[in-house]
């Protein structure tokens, strides 16, 4: 039987036994520090939870409404601008104009 057929074999098993001491053991101070910091941050997270939930809902809603308002404003402005642009028809007087040239009177509609 080769090594590959018997995996993990003796070599790895022995290595595993010897490598056990390479495991890093945090001392009590380190463990206490980590636990305290995690507790502090977790507590802060929980307190901020409601505000965050509201923010998570409201931020996209406000962003969507703001986008809609912007689009609407731009749309109205564009519509008004295009409505106000003078055309040949709109420039034409509503009533006919009489022009006298050399005694003759012409009526322009």
């Amino acid at each position: 039987m080769t090594d590959n057929d018997n995996f993990p074999e003796d070599f790895m098993a022995r290595l595993r036994t010897d490598a056990r001491q390479l495991r890093f053991e945090p001392d009590e101070m380190m463990s206490a520090r980590i636990a305290a910091r995690v507790r502090e941050r977790v507590a802060a997270e929980s307190q901020a939870g409601i505000a965050q939930i509201l923010a998570r809902w409201f931020r996209p809603m406000v962003a969507s409404l703001a986008t809609l308002a912007l689009v609407a404003t731009l749309g109205i402005q564009w519509a008004e601008q295009s409505h106000d642009t003078p055309t040949i028809d709109s420039m034409a007087p509503a009533q006919s104009v009489d022009i006298s040239v050399g005694g003759d009177t012409f009526s322009v509609e």
Partner: protein, 218 residues
């Protein structure tokens, strides 16, 4: 550069944590059940909003999480920051944690990926540390309280000389004494890939440590 600032840098472009925390995986892992009723109750309580119940999970997994973190970053201060960050991340994402599964593999996965992100960040900004390389190395060696003899030191050097994924898998298998399926769950690799990495690592370690373990006789 502190580890916390490295987290910030790594977090911006990192998808590794999301990939592993949120369960988008290459390989499906064997579903394990939580056999610790206190742990299961603590998780349920935390999910229901009782943050104080999280203390149980932190104290239960503290040592192993710090050890795994240290194995990746090789520095006690960074391992401490990583462990802290991992527990906070796990708490933030506890809603996504599947009820009934053990917490261990999940938190190990988070800390491993945070560690790998930090290492990637370190590599990216290595030029800043070129002049400090020697002191950094000395600090790593000074942070090895467990290594009390030459044998362990040689094994450690052997593991450290392996390519990144082989090193990670070998450390989890040899030092943390985790099984193939657990390593697969932590790294997001398939069990077959874990075995393959271990097989390659074993070959290299056998060469390096032949005189210690009579590598040629197995």
């Amino acid at each position: 550069m502190s580890t916390m600032s490295m987290f910030e840098g790594a977090a911006a472009g990192s998808f590794a944590l999301d990939r592993l925390v949120f369960g988008v995986e290459k390989a499906p892992t064997r579903s394990a059940t939580n056999e610790d009723p206190i742990e299961a109750r603590a998780i349920a309580a935390v999910k229901a909003g009782d943050a104080a119940s999280y203390d149980y999970l932190v104290s239960k997994y503290m040592k192993r999480v710090v050890s795994i973190a240290w194995g990746v970053v090789r520095n006690a201060a960074d391992a401490e920051d990583l462990a802290q960050e991992a527990f906070v991340k796990a708490f933030e994402n506890i809603g996504r944690f599947k009820t009934g599964e053990p917490f261990g593999p999940w938190i190990y996965r988070i800390v491993t990926n945070l560690g790998l992100d930090v290492m990637k960040h370190r590599k990216r900004f290595r030029h800043e540390e070129i002049t400090d390389a020697a002191p950094a190395e000395r600090r790593d060696r000074a942070d090895l309280p467990a290594i009390s003899n030459e044998l362990a030191e040689r094994i450690d050097r052997g593991i450290e000389s392996l390519p990144e994924m082989q090193r990670l898998v070998a450390r989890l298998y040899l030092v943390e004494e985790l099984g193939h399926s657990e390593i697969a769950a932590i790294t997001g690799l398939s069990e077959g890939t874990v075995r393959s990495h271990l097989s390659l690592a074993r070959g290299k370690l056998k060469e390096k440590l032949a005189d210690l373990h009579g590598g040629g006789n197995d």
